[in-house]
Symmetry: C2
Subunit: 275 residues, 2 copies
């Protein structure tokens, strides 16, 4: 429970009154073993999941067995808000290790969203952040080398774990096999193994018994092109009150960090493509 308060407080100020709204919800606890499916492809789950302990993966498998892990769900994560649309899942969700969840009936969840502005706001944020994570995953897999992918993912996971658990320790659990990593990063287990050995030899990380220690986070971040702003989300309120969405609009209207790169298209107008 505390995990969620931690997590949602990243986004929005939650005083005890608001929080009690949340605690009043009818929830149903359920635990899973490593390898159990929380959501199976083609199912139409009727509830929203809150992950309190353990890790889970969202993944899709092609007919010939190739598997892609779309993202990782860590303690404090909420999914599938999309379920509120009543759709069949087009991907599975599976526990990586022993996992504890709270489930909330879709309609009860919706009612709660309607009643409480701040909570609606917090969950909206968490959905926005999830999308941001998906986009980053696309960039990682599409445009980074194996070494960068691994370094980048480790840093992301570390950061997300810190946000959830608050352990500012530089050693973190990593309950993933090389195959899991490979399937997340679009690589082969063999190549993941080799590349992680290289990271170890380079003195960037250290591993033992399912835990990783990031020895030189700055260097790793530089080498992986990890954007230090990524997932830094300042707290802003919206929807929570009739005024919502106002105060902040004008502030900081982005000169932007302007690391624009030197794409040809910025130099001269491209040729017309209005066929």
């Amino acid at each position: 429970m505390q995990v969620f308060r931690n997590r949602l407080s990243q986004y929005v100020t939650l005083d005890d009154v608001i929080w009690s709204e949340f605690e009043k919800l009818q929830t149903q606890n359920k635990a899973y073993e490593a390898g159990d499916d929380l959501i199976r492809v083609g199912q139409r789950p009727k509830h929203v999941f809150l992950l309190t302990e353990g890790w889970a993966i969202r993944h899709r498998t092609l007919e010939d067995g190739r598997r892609q892990i779309v993202n990782f769900m860590l303690p404090g994560d909420v999914f599938d808000l999309q379920v509120l649309a009543g759709l069949e899942a087009d991907h599975g969700v599976t526990a990586v290790n022993r996992t504890a969840t709270m489930r909330i009936e879709a309609d009860e969840f919706i009612t709660m969203l309607k009643k409480s502005g701040p909570l609606a706001s917090a969950f909206w944020w968490s959905a926005v952040q999830e999308e941001s994570i998906l986009r980053e995953q696309i960039v990682r897999v599409g445009r980074r080398s194996a070494r960068e992918r691994i370094g980048h993912l480790l840093l992301e996971l570390q950061r997300r774990l810190q946000a959830a658990i608050g352990s500012d320790n530089d050693v973190m659990p990593l309950p993933l096999t090389r195959t899991d990593l490979a399937d997340a990063l679009g690589l082969t287990p063999v190549h993941v193994s080799r590349t992680m050995s290289a990271l170890r030899r380079a003195g960037l990380i250290e591993e033992s018994r399912g835990r990783v220690k990031i020895l030189d986070a700055d260097k790793l971040a530089r080498q992986s092109h990890f954007d230090m702003d990524y997932l830094h989300m300042r707290r802003l309120d919206l929807l929570n009150g009739s005024d919502g969405m106002n105060g902040h609009a004008a502030a900081h209207n982005g000169n932007g960090s302007s690391h624009q790169g030197l794409t040809a298209s910025t130099l001269r107008p491209p040729r017309s493509r209005d066929y």
Copy 2:
């Protein structure tokens, strides 16, 4: 305007009364030339965009110039709903060709969502679908060969265009350079060129003047592992009325198409990873 009614009607039944809600909105039209930025990294846009004509890309560029296109925005698409969170954009949105947009102030948009259940529902759906597209992009880039990536993307774009415009024609505009495709698919322009030549030689597609014709959609789909169910979203209502979210919950509780693949993990329980 018709584009949106087309598009949103995919998700939810919109009668004239509801639709007039939407048409009452204060909108601001704005056109862009090819290469113009609709949203720049670091900006904090104050409105939601509706794309009425033309294509746009959402992209992110690394400091060393590598660019990844995260997804394509086609006529009828709505973005960035995330902007409602008041965050700085972590990626840019740029017009591919001449583009026409309608913009709605964030707070006005929110007010509309609160007032009209069906419209809220429709936009929620469109957000869910967008996420589904992002996930599919991850699978494409992470686990598919160059040939599959291209075939798969072409089919997705075709299907999305059909949904927006309704042209059930098998020839479609493709205002993208090989570099654009490469940046979307995590490839090199050179290799995109080679691979598309191969598709042409194989009699799967035909190109001329910024248009593609898919000659054998079935074969292309099979070869690209394009899931014919992808983006087929049955219409379901939610949020729109106090009852919402009920009727459909029980139906079709997924035996699932069960093309599960033969991952080792399905055979015997994996080793414990609870360190």
